[in-house]
Amino acid sequence: MIRNLKGKLQALAQPPLAEPAPVVEEACFVRDSAEPLSSYPGLLDVTAESVRVMTLGDSRPFDIDRTLFLDTETTGLAGSGTVAFLISVGFIEGGKFVTRLLLMRDYSQEYNQLSLLADLMDGMDWIVTFNGKSFDVPLLRGRFIMQGLRRRWRELNHIDLLHASRRVWKPRLVSCTLQRLESELLGVTRVDDLPGADVPARFFEYLKTGRFGLLEDVMRHNTQDARTLARLLAKLSRTYGQAEEQTDMLDVLALGRSLYRAGEIERARRCFSVASVGATAGMARVALAESYRRGGSWEQARGVYERMAEYGEGGAFPYVALAVLAERRERNPGKALLLTREAMRRARDDELPGLEKRRERLQRKLDMR
């Protein structure tokens, strides 16, 4: 037992900020808003093919009418004590894009909130999120368990736009937050937006005071996030469809890499070829040559390396690559040695020790003949 428990607790007690707000009923707060599909250009054109590429190979059938866009606002970072007090979902219904807010106004409404989400998920095959693979979906799965709703949870096919967007735009934009993608790619500027980091404190303040108005910002912010998900999916799909036509070569190169990983080798090579100009030329040619080399097309790979050497791109790299081809494919250590010497003339200091070893090895190989 604890000696003098009451006294010790009294020492810890703080005066309450305000009387806690009274508890409201068990049904959660729901608010729908609809926009014409014309506000979502290209959304209906998203195809299974583009989904396959942006998920790096998930080729299950895709139907935009059975796709749920989802974003949550939570009381903190992931963990069993964190609650998704606000869930925004977007979906197409009756020729419109509907955004539905599921807000628990108090902890007692979570069961109802999750049940309503489950009802919606029942009619869906795909879920689209931003960082939902690591955050929203595991969190919700946990909430369903905590509320005794495990049987109602469904694992939907998942498009996580954070990963898909990073693959395409990270080289150019560096940071790929949802807000940054919105302003850079979709031309949306948010006015008086509530910073995400302030959201939990805002919700707790609402719980303490009962002033519902405190949540208006949060709901607006969350609705906007759900809408952006739909626009971003359409934008990604269009961008993949016109990969080589992008104006920024960093985008073309990144799309090429992404297509390559999704197994679209020919389209990837077209992107690499297009991006083989200006600042991206070196990287694009390396990617192109690598794609040939890995595919066993030595001649094409050599062609690209030779062009790089000719244009002085990539420093020592093309010479090293050519030396490797000369040694392994052409079985010509003499040529490999000459190329290695050329590489050493162009090498950075940190590359030299490795090249020196290569040179010695080739020299020994020649001496043994």
Binding site: M1, L9, V23, G79, Y107, S108, R141, F204
Partner: protein, 764 residues
């Protein structure tokens, strides 16, 4: 060169000692514990038939009696705690029921908790071997801070046996329990090995982690059985019941065989009777270790401090150097070494390339180092329990082994040399933990509230009524009450603020700058750092000397450079104590109190001591922040009228002597380690306004030792008086009141102080 393996000379070594009258003169006790054969029982018929078959293949014909007893008790649905010495096959006591459960039901899960990572990895290896022999699909995974993120998901989903430590359970698994549904729903057994390690504040925290674990199991509908294993302590069943708050069946009848065992108490000879000075225990230990090494007897030498380990390693390595200068036969081993370095030493021991290991009690826990023939203890380890545990390192299933305990001049050591029967007749110490330590409890209660909302009428541990706690946390804005539930209402992740061990988390790294590439050579907990890693300290590592050039306290880094000097450094810790709450007070017959205190410690000065003679070569200053600890204490005051009769110096000396002696003797009464209880005295105390001696729990929050002192004080003081009167020295020595300062008679001063309490002392 072909290494010739010399036969072990343990029989010859023992015979030579017996014949050596100079050695035998110092032997206070030589006891031979006869060999004992194995006691076995058949496998129970309900056990899955694949298991006995696999064990037969591995050379186990039938289980030891204690293994069988464990299986039978579990079959009845009991929780069990197994107390058996090192190397008695306790691992099978939990692996067999676990495997049986999984073979019958592939969904069944088990959670294995080990206090350290190293122990966990050893046990995984042995379970894995058995699973291989079984050819069964039983997945065993270690889940700790080193587990890669990519593997974690598979472990959560598919791991049958999850091996982890309490820290990981607390900070990672429990707060994320929804990711561990499979484990929690199907949890069949929870294994807690090295139960005795969970004492003091670590134990208090562990008890609360278990409360949280049980709460979640109830939520998921599982009712795991607990299997605990403990080294020999006085109260294994009580400790298990304190930590787990369930009834336990004790399995203590060890059926494992052991060879003949010699126990020798060695008391170094007196070199100055007036001053009560004996030959140094460290030097005597070194001589004994050296003779064992020369007889080709493998040995483990336990020293009490890291410093002693390093000094002994250094000198023994010089003895063992071969013509090529290699001295790898002798290795140091202690907590501050890096894991890879420790694994290397453990392998060397098993392979026999390492002959002598000098260790702190880091090896006390059950890491598998194979069989060692001899054990030398430099000083009494402080408790009967850890003495047997360290001695248990030397001991084999067949063949002789020997343990030599070399006494220091401390009162406790000398008491044992004078009364060796105490060691063999008394029960070992109690391991204490206080699950209801207020600070510990409230921290974990918050974690529990985060993990699962509390219901208004819910119990927590042995608290039937949690409403005061819930209301306070609601008032402070951590919880929100909705109907009859309290929901977590903060962004804070409460487990992130709570560390289970006081020291463990915030280790400092030690960086060697001798070579152009700085290299991390070790680490140290923050409470030890001010003592050993202050600037200009000589830090010893694997027998090499390093000087600390810079201590970056905020960033927890110490930069050292290798040096070669003939001295070591020894820092002085200045301690202050302040009463914050007095729980109980008794004016007569002994004016004593019990309450809460704050102890602040600060290292301000260090001495340079010559390596061989230990003479003082000078000193330096240390500028480091102080550390604070809140704990419980018992204090006794000297009556005003009595002080008036003593001169200031005499009072001071008397208090010093009595305090020294009380601190040394208290562990005998409290059944605790010497380091668990501390003493402090003020000749005029700011709180009591009187000369005051404090005995306090040297463990944050306290674990109940001072409570006991409060009750036993009379007996303790009487014992102190008897020791002083019986000591043959003239005016005070290390074995009674400590060395007398100047020409003072410390003994009679101490007796004067004791006389102040008059009859109350005699009634002890």
């Amino acid at each position: 060169m072909q290494a010739t393996v010399k036969p072990s000379g343990i029989a010859a070594w023992l015979a030579a000692r017996r014949a050596d009258s100079a050695f035998m003169r110092n032997v206070a006790l030589w006891r031979v514990i006869p060999a004992r054969p194995a006691q076995t029982a058949p496998f129970p018929d309900w056990l899955h038939p694949d298991i006995p078959a696999a064990l037969h293949q591995r050379g186990v014909a039938s289980p030891y009696t204690h293994q069988r007893a464990a299986l039978d008790a579990l079959r009845l649905g009991n929780h069990i705690v197994i107390v058996t010495p090192t190397a008695s096959g306790k691992t099978l006591c939990y692996n067999l029921p676990t495997l049986d459960a999984i073979l019958r039901n592939p969904d069944a899960r088990a959670l294995y908790l080990f206090p350290t990572k190293a122990l966990g990895s050893d046990q995984v290896a042995s379970l894995y071997e058995l699973v291989q022999t079984l050819g069964a699909d039983v997945k065993t995974f270690t889940y700790d801070g080193d587990t890669p993120a990519s593997a974690r998901r598979a472990i959560r989903e598919a791991g049958h046996v999850v091996v982890t430590n309490p820290d990981m359970l607390h900070s990672n698994i429990l707060p994320n329990h929804v990711k561990w549904v499979k484990l929690f729903e199907n949890l069949r057994y929870v294994v807690i090995d090295e139960l005795h390690a969970y004492r003091g504040v670590f134990g208090s925290n562990m008890a609360n982690v278990i409360r949280r674990l049980k709460r979640l199991c109830a939520f998921y509908g599982s009712h795991p059985q607990f299997i605990c294993c403990s080294a020999t302590i006085a109260n294994p069943r009580e400790l298990a019941q304190t930590l787990l708050e369930e009834p336990f069946t004790l399995i203590s009848d060890n059926g494992a065989p052991h060879g003949e065992r010699h126990v020798i108490f060695y008391n170094p000879p007196v070199v100055n009777r007036q001053l009560g000075i004996r030959k140094g225990a460290v030097n005597e230990t070194r001589e004994i270790a050296k003779s064992l090494l020369h007889s080709n007897v493998s040995s483990i030498v336990f020293a009490k401090s890291r410093l002693q380990v390093e000094v002994l390693t250094h000198t023994l390595k010089q003895q063992a150097r071969d013509p090529l200068g290699n001295s790898g036969q002798v290795r140091g081993y202690r907590g501050g070494y890096l894991p890879s370095e420790r694994r290397d030493i453990e392998r060397g021991l098993r392979a026999g390339t390492v002959k002598t290991v000098v260790s702190t009690n880091a090896l006390e826990l059950g890491i598998d180092i194979g069989s060692i023939e001899s054990c030398v203890l430099c000083g009494y380890p402080g408790t009967i329990a850890s003495t047997w545990q360290q001695a248990g390192r030397a001991g084999r299933r067949s063949g002789s082994s020997v343990t030599v305990m070399v006494a220091t001049s401390s009162p406790l050591d000398q008491y044992l040399m004078a009364h060796p029967e105490y060691f063999f007749d008394s029960s070992p110490e109690n391991a204490l933990a206080q699950p209801d330590n207020f600070h510990v409890l409230i921290n974990h209660f918050k974690c529990a509230a985060y993990e699962l909302p509390f219901k208004a009428d819910e119990r927590y541990g042995d608290l039937d009524d949690t409403s005061d706690l819930l209301d306070t946390l609601t008032g402070n804005g951590f919880l929100r009450r909705v109907n009859d539930r309290f929901h977590w209402m903060s962004e804070e992740l409460p487990s992130a603020e709570v560390h289970l061990r006081v020291a463990g988390e915030e280790n400092f790294v030690i960086i060697d700058k001798t070579k152009p590439d700085p290299r991390v050579i070790g680490e140290m907990d923050r409470f030890t750092v001010p003592m050993l890693l202050h600037e200009h300290a000589i830090y010893l590592h694997e027998g090499r000397q390093y000087q600390v050039e810079k201590l970056d306290f905020p960033n927890k880094k110490a930069f050292v450079r290798q040096v070669d000097v003939d001295y070591y450094t020894d820092a002085d810790m200045a301690t202050q104590l302040r009463v914050i709450d007095e729980f109980e007070h008794d004016a007569s017959p002994l004016p004593r109190s019990f309450g809460e205190v704050v102890v602040s410690s600060m290292v301000t000065i260090f001495k340079k001591m010559k390596l061989d003679t230990h003479e003082n070569l000078g000193h330096g200053f240390v500028d480091l922040p102080e550390t604070q600890m809140q704990t419980t204490a018992c204090w006794i005051t000297l009556p005003e009228e009595r002080c008036a009769m003593l001169s200031k110096d005499r009072l001071q000396n008397g208090m010093l002597g009595v305090a020294h002696l009380l601190g040394s003797l208290a562990p005998l009464y409290l059944m605790c380690a010497r380091s668990d209880i501390a003493v402090h005295y003020h000749s005029r105390d700011p709180f009591t306004q009187l000369p005051t001696i404090y005995l306090y729990d040297a463990i944050p929050g306290g674990v109940g030792l001072s409570d006991k002192v409060y009750l036993l004080l009379g007996a303790l003081l009487a014992h102190a008086r008897d020791v002083i009167m019986a000591c043959p020295c003239d005016s005070g020595c290390p074995s009674c009141v400590g060395p007398a300062p100047g020409d003072q008679d410390a003994k009679s001063a101490a007796l004067d102080v004791l006389a102040a309490w008059g009859g109350a002392v005699a009634r002890g």
